[in-house]
Amino acid sequence: MNTSVILAYGFRPFFLALPLAACAAVLPLPVLWMGWGALTALPAGLWHGHEQIFGVLCAALAGFLLTAMPSWTGKAPINGRGLAGLVILWILGRLAFWLDPILPPVLVAGLDVVFLPALLLVVSRYGKPWEFFLALALLTAANAAFHLGRLEILSLPVERVLYAGQNLFLVLIAIATGRILPVTLRSALVETGQSPQIRLAPGRRHLATATLVLFALADWLAPFQAVTGWIALAAACAQADRMVELHHGRALLRPQVLPFYLAQAWMVVGLGGLGMAILGLDLDPVALRHALGLGAAALVALAVMSIVSLRHSGRAFPLPGVTWLAYGLVSLATGLRMATALWAPAHMPIWGVAIPSILWAAAFVVWVARFGPWLLHPRKDGQPG
């Protein structure tokens, strides 16, 4: 294994390590739901939520930012030892959580809180775009608040911190897709024989992002209040409104476009359902949170990982067909997780937890089996990075 290749660009080590964390993040859930005991000191739901948000999604974010920001700003990417240091900090956080039952919570916190500030420090070198920097700073604060809440230094329900982290990721997805979609949509238009000249109206994108920011704020300041419910419904409608950006005939069905569309749809389902649950409808909010995390965030993460790995390994579109399998497995896992919790809660251990966990893990195994070799080898076009 050539470490200089792996450490040549930010996406390589993070996207290689992420699937392992993704598989580990669901491992304790079937064990708990099948009644075989608990693998974690924290309640399993909290442990799982933290690992999905601050472990898996933050790795995807790190890989994306450390690759995209140098491209956007023209500044040199971080690589070599600096990148290795960041990856080690991320791995230390994961190890701490995997060993959570045997490590003291203070040590787990100490090992886990270092990665995000370090990433923030690295990203701050680029100066812009400020919105990513701000979101990352808030994520850093949220992770710190999670541990302070767990250690009872702050009287803060840690579930709320996790929800805040998830909401921040929704905002990040809205911002990031605004930058990614024009590129991927143009390539999809060319692939389907259409004119690549498109202009996406910024108003829809900004409305979608602004409503998500409002929802994140309301959900933090007034959780389960009717005001938050209406704002969630508004955010759901704004995401649905934005879906029209991708109505470009057969281009919508290309693998670099459809996952973003499906992610928007999951956001509509999740936010709409959450809004209705808050306003009094008998719906399970945790199931709806999975539409946002497992559905929207994971699909976007997989799509971004695929596109970044393809482009920055010196390859041209189209994406390999196996990405469809990964998207399909995650979508199926989301559908099963939600539908079982909402309509067949008695079958949760098998159909709502065990099978979705297997599907989720399989999606990342499939992904790394196809893209892993690209990440381990130098760029196809011989360029550095």
Binding site: L214, Q225, W230, A234, A235, D241, V244, H247, H248
Partner: protein, 272 residues
């Protein structure tokens, strides 16, 4: 350049309803916050108001009220469109008629709608006709102004060219005069139609001649803020339906040049 078919354009337009819904839901969130701050007597909660609306509909009071208000509003609006439109054409075509009619239209625009309500109640009593008359006199000057402006600004060169080709007068009216006139007349008609609902509700409230305004008056007497908000929601719903399902599609149909510029996909042109 690829152009989208009529069906797809209609779908894109309807899809834009999500954006409208987002905006309205944010307003409802603000309403909910107002309710939380000031209580039910000042501002009932949205959910209570929607429940009251549902009860009114179940009790069979909603549809007759909507029907009465619509008949009153549309009757007055139709009369105003015909009278204001024809007089506007006259004023646009003839300088003498313009000098004669313009000051009268300005004067009528200056009279507050509430004054017309009082006068028409005195003249015609508390009937639907009084309401329609109020709508007629408050909205006709708006249509008049649009129609006169459209007529006055007709392109003389274009007219002469059509005449030199001996275009028959129906073709002249349909293909030369009407498209130009509509670009001035349609905004005036849209404003007049939106105004006619508001004037109707106001006149109904004072005249007690049925309709949504009458329902509002009853809610006021009973100090029933929830029911009052339910009626307000009804009239706002009517206005939104008229705006987005009638006026805006017609506006887009007429403004052909706004559709599908090169490089513009559905995201730029779709929706409301």
């Amino acid at each position: 350049m690829q152009t989208r078919g009529r069906g797809l354009r209609a779908l894109d337009y309807l899809w834009g309803g999500w954006g409208v819904a987002a905006s309205l839901l944010l307003l409802i969130a603000l309403w909910e916050a107002g309710h939380a701050a000031y209580g039910t007597l000042v501002l009932p909660s949205p959910r209570d108001s929607f429940a009251a609306l549902w009860k009114l509909a179940e009790a069979g009071r909603m549809l007759p009220a909507i029907w009465d208000t619509s008949i009153n509003a549309l009757g007055g609006f139709a009369a105003a469109s015909v009278a204001g439109g024809l007089l506007g054409v006259l004023a646009g075509a003839s300088d003498m008629m313009r000098r004669l009619l313009q000051p009268i239209a300005t004067l009528m625009l200056g009279i507050p709608a509430i004054a017309w309500v009082v006068l028409s109640l005195l003249w015609f009593g508390g009937t639907g006709f009084a309401v329609s008359f109020t709508v007629l006199v408050t909205t006709a000057p708006i249509v008049f102004a649009g129609s006169a402006q459209g007529m006055r600004t007709l392109d003389g060169a274009l007219k002469r060219m059509a005449q030199s080709f001996r275009a028959p007068w129906p073709v002249l009216a349909w293909d030369v005069y009407l498209p130009h006139m509509l670009s001035y007349l349609f905004p005036a008609l849209a404003t007049a139609l939106a105004l006619s609902w508001k004037v109707t509700v106001m006149a109904e409230l004072l005249s007690g001649s049925g309709g949504i305004g009458d329902g509002l008056a009853t809610a006021r007497v009973q100090v029933d803020t929830i029911k009052a908000m339910a009626w307000v929601v009804t009239v706002v719903g009517l206005l939104l339906i008229v705006e987005y399902l009638l006026l805006e599609p017609v506006r887009r149909h007429l403004q052909v040049w706004r559709r599908e510029m090169p490089g513009v996909g559905p995201s730029a042109t779709a929706g409301f």
